[in-house]
């Protein structure tokens, strides 16, 4: 019940209203009950007083004169007229002398009106001499009666009968039966109370209706809507009043709409996420599958390697074995030719076996199947053991050989077999490529790769020869697979091309490094760092050695300590080969099977020094990982290579350093190629360098080639520099409309690019145009158009005059109408072509008709363009001419 009230605002209001109405009603009723009846009765009483006064006044005179008859008669009349009134006139003893009721005469008034209080009052009144009316209400015989007593005073008129002794002679007593009147009053009061109650009830009903309509109903609608909303139903309320609840409803509607909107967005987002998640799961499943397959493949590969090993070596066993048996003349003597042939078979069989072994080794290194069995080794013993095999060959070639092991470098901590293999490969290379002089092996404690306390951990073994040497450009590929310096070398020096690759792999397993210094014709020195401390193998990742840190620090102009720290990327500590997947497209190693960061692992895997290839290090500056790891700042300005005055420079803009490298390779004989990797610097660089031409890539990060081209052509300082687009995408129309001079689609035909740049370079910009045209209108039109475009124009109609004119006015371009009646224009062309100064000036021939093949033949090679005027409207002619001009200016 209380809850019912508590929880409903309408009920609360109702209850309040009801309480107020009840209160008012109660007050009203009590008022009526308390005062209503009494008031009425007082009115009756007052009426009575007047009646009694009137009666007394009427009786006074007859009393004085003692006219009893009149008194009787009057009283009788009153009694007859007012049935509820009895009037008694009593003497001072209470004996009734006159009355409306004849029977009452001579009886005591007390006996008629039997009421104790009345007797008292009457006695009191009779003893007092006061002619005022006392009214009393008594209940007589169960009916309410109003008794009025009026004492009759003695007066001088009465002395003659009653004497003067007495003050009061008697009293006039009037008894009025007011029961009926009273009842009427009560009835009226009750009626009025009922009316009030009815009115109250009615008001409650009305209020209830109003409250229902104004508050309860809209509130309920709102509440229901809220409930539905809470359950997720997004419905708005269409009907609502214009009051505060209406405002609330509007707000609610707004809220519902907003929530619905965001819910929808959320649902969309959720669907998207769910889809993404699904896709991701699919991807994960796919990856897992792929991973599993890869693992299976890996196992298969290992099994394959093992099998191949077996299967290939089994027949090799027979081939080599039988050949050797034959050579040992087990089956009888051989002649020299047979022996020589068999020796070739044997040598090739051994080479094939070596190849098989190397391929297997590489496979094992690549698949990480090699486990090192490290231990302490004696370097001298190791080298001596190896040299036994090489000594005959060295002796045969007449080479010298020396070993020099410094103090402290006697021991290695490495895998015996692998260390031996490393040294065999290096020494066999040295012996193979050396024809005079000798081979020196040095070993010393290395300054590189020290531990954190600065204690050396590596022995540097160098194998120096005085052989043919390696070209600079081959130095960085020499450790790659099948990368004998060039094919001719492979032909000349048999080898598998895998030896150095194996060396690099095996050295890397020892956390060491290998690098080479070489000069063509003077020899090569291969350096290997191998550890002599066991601790090396307990450190994570390769050791960044100090010398490399120095190089890097110098290059990036930062303290070298940065490079000696444990590298972190994005706040996480990482090992060097975690960078291998950095995937930055600018990384020179991007897409290479090595997938190692060239900068961080540079010398480890490539064996060359940073700095010899600025573009590569520039790329590293763009690399986010390196930037984050090393520089913690924006990429540095690429070093500006200032060209010398005389050098002709081509600016190559490409985000891929290899592309720049390629362009350089093609152009370097004739041009200095300056490459920039960042398209954002293009304009600045172009202004600075003033190149004869710019090659521009289109697909570049941050700012694409179109933007660069547009900006180049908008800048007055560089807009005349011809731009050649070199891009993988083919959109010549856009390029030419933006002002490019030519367009090369990758893969780049480098020789064509060189020819093109040469042709551009020899171009003279066209400034002065000479016109020979008989038709005055055409001549004027052309002159106007060309002058508007910014050319200087000389026009004439006569070829004789023309010949005279060009002697002093040297043109850059000739426009000649060749279809004049006397063919004198051809004479002019002949003159031009015969003149040493003018013979190279391009000519555009205008004709008024289609030329015959003979005529074309006659002009062959002498003019650049033929424009048939008759085929074009005036406007088209201008466009055509402009296109020709553009073509000629572009050197086509």
């Amino acid at each position: 019940m209380f809850k019912f009230i508590k929880n409903k605002i309408g009920n609360k209001l109702m209850l309040t209203f009801m309480a107020i109405i009840f209160l008012v009603m109660i007050v009203e009723m009590s008022f009526r009950i308390y005062f209503g009846v009494a008031d009425r009765l007082r009115l009756v009483e007052m009426g009575n007083k007047e009646v009694i006064d009137t009666i007394y006044a009427t009786m006074k005179h007859p009393l004085t004169v003692g006219d009893s008859e009149t008194i009787h008669r009057d009283l009788q009349e009153i009694g007859a007229k007012y049935k509820n009134i009895n009037v008694y006139l009593c003497d001072f003893n209470g004996r009734v002398s006159f009355s409306t009721d004849r029977k009452a005469i001579n009886t005591k008034v007390y006996e008629i009106i039997k009421h104790e209080n009345f007797s008292k009052t009457l006695n009191q009144r009779l003893s007092e001499g006061d002619e005022t009316v006392t009214s009393l209400t008594y209940k007589l015989e169960n009916r309410r009666n109003l008794i009025s007593v009026l004492p009759v005073k003695n007066s001088p008129e009465c002395f003659h009968c009653h004497g003067s002794s007495k003050k009061i002679l008697g009293a006039l007593v009037m008894k009025t039966d007011v029961e009926d009147a009273y009842k009427t009053v009560i009835y009226q009061r009750n009626k009025s109370l009922a009316l009030t109650a009815f009115a109250a009830l009615l008001s409650i009903v009305i209020i209830n209706l109003v409250v229902s309509r104004v508050i309860r109903k809209p509130l309920n609608v709102l509440i229901n809507a809220t409930h539905r909303f809470a359950k997720g139903e997004m419905s708005v309320i269409t009907k609502y009043p214009s009051d505060e609840i209406g405002t609330l409803t509007e707000t609610f509607n707004y809220m519902v709409n907003e929530v619905a909107k965001s819910k929808m967005e959320l649902e969309k987002e959720l669907t998207r996420r769910a889809k993404l998640l699904e896709e991701r799961e699919e991807l994960v499943a796919l990856l897992q599958k792929a991973n599993k397959q890869l693992k299976e493949l890996d196992t298969l590969k290992s099994a394959f390697i093992a099998n191949m090993s077996h299967e290939l070596r089994t027949p090799m066993n027979a081939i080599i074995g039988y050949t050797d048996l034959l050579l040992d003349e087990v089956d009888g003597p051989l002649n020299d030719d047979q022996k020589a042939s068999l020796k070739k078979v044997a040598a090739n069989a051994r080479h094939l076996l070596q190849l098989i072994n190397d391929v297997l080794d590489i496979s094992k290194i690549e698949s990480g199947k090699i486990e090192l069995r490290t231990g302490e080794l004696d370097l001298k013993e190791l080298i001596d053991g190896i040299m036994v095999t090489f000594e005959p060959l060295i002796a045969k070639k007449g080479l010298t050989f020396s070993i020099n092991i410094e103090n402290g470098a006697e021991k290695l901590y490495a895998d015996y077999d692998k260390a031996k293999q490393i040294l065999i490969n290096l020494i066999s290379n040295a012996v193979k490529f050396t024809h005079q002089g000798g081979i020196t092996i040095n070993a010393r404690v290395s300054e590189r790769g020290k531990d954190r306390e600065g204690n050396p951990q590596f022995i540097e073994i160098s194998v120096a020869d005085t052989g043919i040497g390696i070209k600079r450009e081959d130095l960085d590929r020499i450790f790659d697979k099948f990368a004998q310096a060039d094919i001719s070398t492979t032909r000349q020096y048999e080898g598998t091309g895998l030896g150095l690759s194996i060396v690099r792999g095996l050295v890397a397993l020892h956390k060491g490094m290998v690098w080479v210094e070489s000069e063509v014709g003077k020899g090569s020195t291969f350096y290997v760092l191998l550890p002599f401390k066991r601790e090396v193998f307990e450190q994570p990742g390769p050791v960044i050695e100090e010398k490399m840190a120095d190089t890097l620090a110098q290059y990036f102009e930062v303290p070298k300590e940065i490079f000696l720290q444990e590298p972190t990327y994005e706040g996480k500590s990482v090992r060097c080969w975690d960078y291998t997947q950095c995937g930055h497209v600018n990384c020179p190693e991007y897409g290479s099977p090595e997938k190692r960061c060239w900068l961080v692992l540079g010398t480890h895997c490539k064996g060359i020094r940073i700095g010899s290839y600025p573009e590569k290090a520039d790329a590293c500056r763009l690399c986010e990982v390196v930037r984050d790891l090393v520089l913690h700042k924006e990429p540095l300005e690429a070093e500006i290579i200032k060209p010398s005055e005389k050098e002709k420079v081509v600016l190559a803009i490409d985000d891929n350093p290899d592309a720049i490298d390629l362009i350089r390779k093609y152009l370097e004989k004739d041009y200095k190629v300056i490459g920039i990797l960042s398209s954002e610097e293009a304009i600045k660089k172009a202004k600075e360098i003033k190149p004869v031409a710019i090659t521009l890539d289109i697909m570049m990060p941050r700012k694409d080639g179109w933007q660069v081209l547009k900006e180049l052509k908008e800048d007055k300082d560089v807009k005349d520099i011809p731009v050649i687009i070199v891009s993988i995408i083919d959109n010549k129309t856009l390029a030419f409309s933006l002002g490019a001079t030519d367009y090369f689609v990758k893969p780049l035909d480098g020789r064509a690019l060189l020819r093109r740049i040469k042709s551009i370079e020899t171009l003279r910009p066209i400034k002065r145009v000479f016109i020979l045209e008989r038709d005055e209108k055409t001549s004027t039109d052309l002159t106007n158009i060309l002058e508007e475009t910014g050319y200087e124009v000389y026009a004439t109609a006569n070829s004789r005059q023309a010949i005279e004119a060009v002697k002093t006015w040297s043109p850059d371009l000739l426009i000649i109408n060749i279809t004049d009646p006397d063919s004198s224009a051809i004479d002019f062309i002949d003159y031009i072509k015969a003149s040493p100064e003018l013979k190279d000036v391009p000519i555009i021939a205008l004709t008024s008709k289609e030329l015959t093949p003979e005529e074309k033949e006659a002009l062959n090679g002498r003019i650049k363009e033929i424009i048939n005027k008759s085929l074009f409207s005036e406007e088209e002619l201008i466009t055509e001419l402009k296109n020709s001009l553009k073509k000629i200016e572009g050197g086509l």
Binding site: H310, E311, T314, P315, M316, N317, A318
Partner: protein, 123 residues
């Protein structure tokens, strides 16, 4: 005259060994699979067994294990003779009970010397 059992499924390999060793006066017995190897080993009691590993029916490791489990073969040298050149193959062979390891392709000129070591003929 010492007897040598050559176990190899490749006929050329067997012939090669035979050809190399025959002139030193050994008696060569051949087996082409694991079962035959065990049978002939028990029948002929060879002084040395050259055991190829990849052979049909029962592989060389298993043959070696079974023979080495017998008292009468405890002291017979069994030499793994295989083209498996992976590291670990050698260990596996030694673990199986082989006394030595000669990898294919063999060196014709050194082969006899290697055999002699295991036959203890040098002493």
């Amino acid at each position: 005259m010492k007897t040598i059992l050559v176990v190899d499924d490749n006929e050329d390999s067997r012939e090669l060994v035979k050809k190399i060793l025959k002139k030193y006066g050994y008696e060569i017995i051949e087996a082409i699979d694991g079962e035959e190897a065990i049978a002939k080993a028990i029948a002929y009691r060879p002084d040395l067994i050259l055991m190829d590993i990849s052979i049909p029916k029962i592989d060389g490791y298993e043959v070696t294990k079974r023979l080495k489990a017998r008292v009468d073969f405890k002291d017979t040298p069994i030499i793994a003779f295989t083209a498996h050149a992976m590291r670990g193959d050698q260990e596996k062979a030694l673990q199986a009970g082989c006394n030595g390891y000669i990898s294919k392709p063999i060196n014709v000129r050194e082969f006899h010397d290697q055999i002699k070591i295991y036959l203890k003929e040098n002493e």
